[in-house]
């Protein structure tokens, strides 16, 4: 009798777990942009770049990026940002190149070419390396090494693994299974951090200071308003509000204020 009950419960659990797997696999994915045909036969921007027409290349890529904000997938947008970064670098505008490469990494965090070019551009612009190599920088890089989709799959895989262990604990009990369950919970918590980080960053609207002399933060969106602080070149700030030619930013350490729109570069594409 004990065995029958246990078997029944086990079967129910397995059935429920299986349905969970099916649910996860068949659940509608996150918001997906309607993909355009990204593999065009010829890329006008690339042709212009090869021909040495940097202006033409920048225009073509910029237009494509602007048009494709909602329709192009993240990797293609990252590619366009990366290529625009190369154009900016070739023009000698290293800070703008840093902005483009940083924007590209937000979309495609593990691309080695982008990292290499970013570090080179930062070095040329006199900025410290993006990856300082210390613990905080490494943790930050690890946290955002996965795209949003990848982090969701990672978390789901951890939850499934945890489910298996919990099933064992329910059916068999014992100290070993309990310890494994706790370890599984720890695994889920760890696996959840990239997804949580993405969720917290979902509404971010960061900008990068690309003015060689830095950007003055003013109390009002007027050129003659009092300057309350200053942002160094390469500094990042969070956008709070926008007006024509002006952007209100929250500075990392200092009062919020307004900076000229031309002094900053948007990192969200």
């Amino acid at each position: 009798m004990l065995g029958k009950a246990s078997r029944r419960c086990g079967s129910v659990l397995i059935a429920l777990l299986a349905s969970l797997v099916v649910l996860g696999a068949s659940a509608p994915p996150g918001p997906t942009p309607r993909d355009e045909t990204t593999i065009a036969v010829r890329d006008a921007g690339l042709e212009a770049y090869r021909a040495g027409d940097l202006e033409g290349a920048a225009t073509a890529w910029r237009e494509r990026l602007e048009r494709g904000r909602e329709t192009l997938h993240a990797n293609e947008r990252a590619r366009l940002c990366y290529d625009l970064g190369n154009v900016a670098y070739r023009r000698g505008d290293e800070l703008a190149a840093v902005g483009w490469y940083t924007a590209a990494l937000r979309l495609r965090p593990r691309d080695a070419d982008t990292w290499a070019n970013l570090e080179l551009a930062r070095s040329e612009a006199g900025l410290p390396p993006a990856d300082r190599g210390d613990l905080a920088a490494t943790a930050d890089r690890l946290l955002f090494a996965f795209t949003r989709g990848e982090s969701e799959w990672l978390l789901l895989a951890a939850v499934l693994a945890w489910a298996v262990v919990l099933a064992g604990e329910a059916l068999r009990g014992g100290r070993a299974w309990r310890v494994a369950s706790l370890a599984g919970l720890g695994l889920v918590l760890v696996a959840a951090t990239p997804r949580v980080a993405h969720a917290l960053r979902a509404d971010d609207d960061p900008v990068l200071v690309v003015q060689k002399d830095g950007a003055r933060v003013r109390s009002e969106p007027r050129a003659d308003a009092e300057a309350v602080s200053a942002l160094e070149p390469g500094a990042e700030a969070e956008v709070l509000d926008r007006l024509p030619d002006w952007v209100k930013v929250a500075t990392p350490d200092g009062p919020d204020g307004w900076v000229r729109e031309r002094d900053v570069f948007p990192l969200r594409w």
Partner: protein, 626 residues
């Protein structure tokens, strides 16, 4: 009375003196005749005083006991003095002697200078040991302090040496020890019992040329040698060279660890017994790679093999030495005559193999040209050639270079792009090499690689741009073909649902299962393990009685009874009493199985029935609810 009192006082003082390591009579003092040591206020005495090195301890007491009757100025303990001595005056070549400097009656002392001695290696002195003692002299308690400096001395070759006087600063005043003689003799027995020899080393190498030194050593296998140390003065420090990576260990060899210079241990290969002079010798090989870095002469000083036996307590018993004479290697400078203008310091014999990642490109499109260099020489040290400066590559633009070292080769990859459609091939990449075998410069070139370059629509070639400096540039742009769609996630809802459902299901399942008892309870564990234990028991069973025993244990586990409960039990009768726990059909099958096992045990020669059959019935009764 006076005589007795005098004697008693002398005995008492002698007793006090024996408690302290005194040797006032054995040490020279400024007021006594100088012998083993010197001091600034030394004055010749009428009678010679024995030297420190030669007076035994017992003599010090005798000397001191007679102090009251001797001249009052025979012992003065308030003047500092120094004395030097060697543990032995004769040492085997390869061995060491201990040099001891004793400073008496001083509160501070330091060694100012240890002069260099030709052919002698004097190890640095450490901190001195300090010994303080008190004694009574003429009714007054005196304090004596002794500082002892110790080091070792090793002669480099056979012969007679003199350890020069060593200057010390004692309580602010300079004092000097005497010179000490030392003789080094060849350990004839050691040279017979063991050997060490360099079997392979070039006499001449060129600047930048790697070379290998091969050394063999060994000792008589019949001696029971259990201790050996290599003394290689050139190990880890051979001026004019760089020590290269050790050659890879051969698979299958016998490798042992041996100490080198008493500072590190290395692995050497034992190559088995070798007969020398009719006796078997254990022999070992040692290989070390170097690269010469400047012209001149490389001097490898005398190498020694110290070997011997230790007893069970680790104390050294016999010690022998064998040595190899110094070796000189001539390092020649690379000749200026015939040196190509684009020579990049490659020395050796190399081959080069080129490959590309693509051969059909548009004008300006990136091509990765990789050249693999392999061979003997300074493979990882030379600078790779610079094709950008080669006229053959005038129609190419270079974007960068990367390198990767492999186990036995080096890969250099250039990122280049054709400027025009006129390009038909990637020209050979030339590496200028100095070949030590030939003593001349030569060229190692890759084969040309045919490529097809198409024009871009509306263009003829690459425009002239101010490209960044070769080797320090951004990576090339990426075309649309270089990217693929990112992985789409399952969605936040699915993940959230999973996070909620899993613990809920677990709680529900857990509660349901535990309604019928704790699954981890000992009884339930016992029941669950019964089948596994039965299978294990049957796998090892060689007779029907062993099978029966395993089956009885299984049944007892399933019914939670003592192990012997099912021996001789009637399964059918049991089922009638416990109908809810086992079906009639299953009980019948079980009863039949038990009967057959009993028959085999008692009347059938104890032949086993077979695990499969027993397990089959066991599974059936489990399914039946047992």
């Amino acid at each position: 009375m006076n005589r007795r009192a005098s004697t008693l006082r002398g005995l008492a003082l002698a007793l006090l003196g024996a408690l302290a390591p005194l040797a006032p009579a054995a040490t020279t003092s400024p007021s006594a005749a100088p012998a083993a040591a010197t001091s600034p206020s030394a004055a010749p005495a009428a009678t010679p005083v024995p030297t420190y090195a030669s007076v035994p301890a017992s003599a010090s007491i005798r000397a001191f006991a007679s102090a009251p009757s001797s001249a009052p100025a025979a012992v003065q303990t308030d003047q500092p003095s120094v004395a030097a001595r060697l543990s032995t005056g004769v040492v085997k070549l390869g061995g060491r002697a201990q040099l001891e400097i004793v400073v008496e009656n001083a509160s501070t002392a330091r060694i100012v200078e240890v002069p260099a001695a030709d052919g002698l290696a004097i190890a640095p002195f450490g901190q001195p040991s300090r010994q303080q003692s008190m004694f009574s002299y003429n009714g007054r308690v005196q304090t004596s302090v002794r500082l002892t400096f110790v080091t070792t001395v090793r002669p480099g070759a056979e012969g007679e040496y003199t350890i020069p006087p060593i200057t010390l600063e004692v309580d602010g005043r300079p004092l000097t020890t005497r010179a000490l003689p030392l003789k080094a003799v060849v350990d004839v027995q050691g040279e017979d019992f063991g050997f060490i020899e360099v079997v392979e080393v070039p006499e001449v190498v060129y600047d930048g040329q790697p070379f290998q030194l091969v050394m063999r050593f060994g000792f008589d296998a019949g001696l029971g040698v259990n201790r050996a140390v290599l003394h290689l003065p050139w190990w880890g420090e051979l001026p004019g060279t760089i020590a290269l990576e050790d050659p890879p260990r051969a698979l299958g060899g016998d490798w042992i660890e041996i100490a080198v210079n008493r500072t590190e241990t290395i692995q050497v290969e034992e190559t088995g017994a070798e007969e020398r002079d009719g006796r078997p010798f254990r022999t070992f090989w040692l290989r070390k790679n170097f690269m010469a870095t400047r012209p001149g002469t490389l001097e490898l000083p005398t190498s020694y093999l110290e070997f011997g036996r230790t007893d069970r307590l680790g104390r050294a018993r016999e010690t022998w030495y064998a040595h190899e004479e110094p070796i000189a290697i001539e390092v020649r400078a690379l000749p200026e005559e015939g040196r190509p203008y684009d020579y990049t310091n490659a020395v050796g014999s190399f081959t080069a193999q080129a490959s590309v990642d693509r051969r059909d490109v548009d004008v300006g499109e990136s091509i990765k040209l990789s050249v693999d260099y392999s061979g003997e020489g300074n493979l990882e040290w030379f600078d790779p050639p610079d094709p950008a400066r080669d006229e053959a590559f005038a129609d190419f633009r270079f974007y960068g270079r990367t390198e990767r070292k492999r186990v036995d080769s080096r890969r250099v990859t250039w990122d280049l792009a054709p400027r025009t459609t006129a390009v038909r091939e990637i020209p050979p990449v030339r590496l200028r090499v100095f070949d030590p075998e030939l003593g001349a410069y030569s060229t190692v070139a890759t084969e040309p690689i045919p490529v097809r370059v198409r024009a871009i629509e509306g263009g003829e070639g690459l425009a002239e741009t101010s490209a960044a400096e070769f080797g320090l540039d951004v990576r090339d742009v990426q075309g649309p073909a270089a990217v693929s769609a990112p992985i789409q996630g399952p969605g936040g809802r699915a993940v959230g649902l999973a996070l909620l459902l899993v613990p809920a299901l677990w709680l529900a399942g857990r509660t349901a299962v535990r309604r019928h008892g704790e699954p981890d309870a000992p009884e339930r564990r016992r029941r669950r393990a019964a089948r596994r234990r039965l299978a294990r028991g049957l796998a090892g069973a060689r007779s029907a009685s062993e099978e029966a025993r395993a089956l009885h244990r299984f049944l007892a586990d399933r019914t939670l009874e003592p192990e012997g409960a099912w021996i001789g039990r009637d399964a059918r009768a049991w089922q009638r009493e416990h109908a809810e726990r086992l079906g009639a059909d299953e009980a019948a099958a079980l009863a039949e199985l038990l009967a057959r096992l009993d028959e085999r045990v008692y009347a059938g020669g104890d032949e086993p029935l077979g695990a499969r059959e027993v397990l089959g019935v066991a599974d059936r009764v489990c399914r039946g609810g047992l």
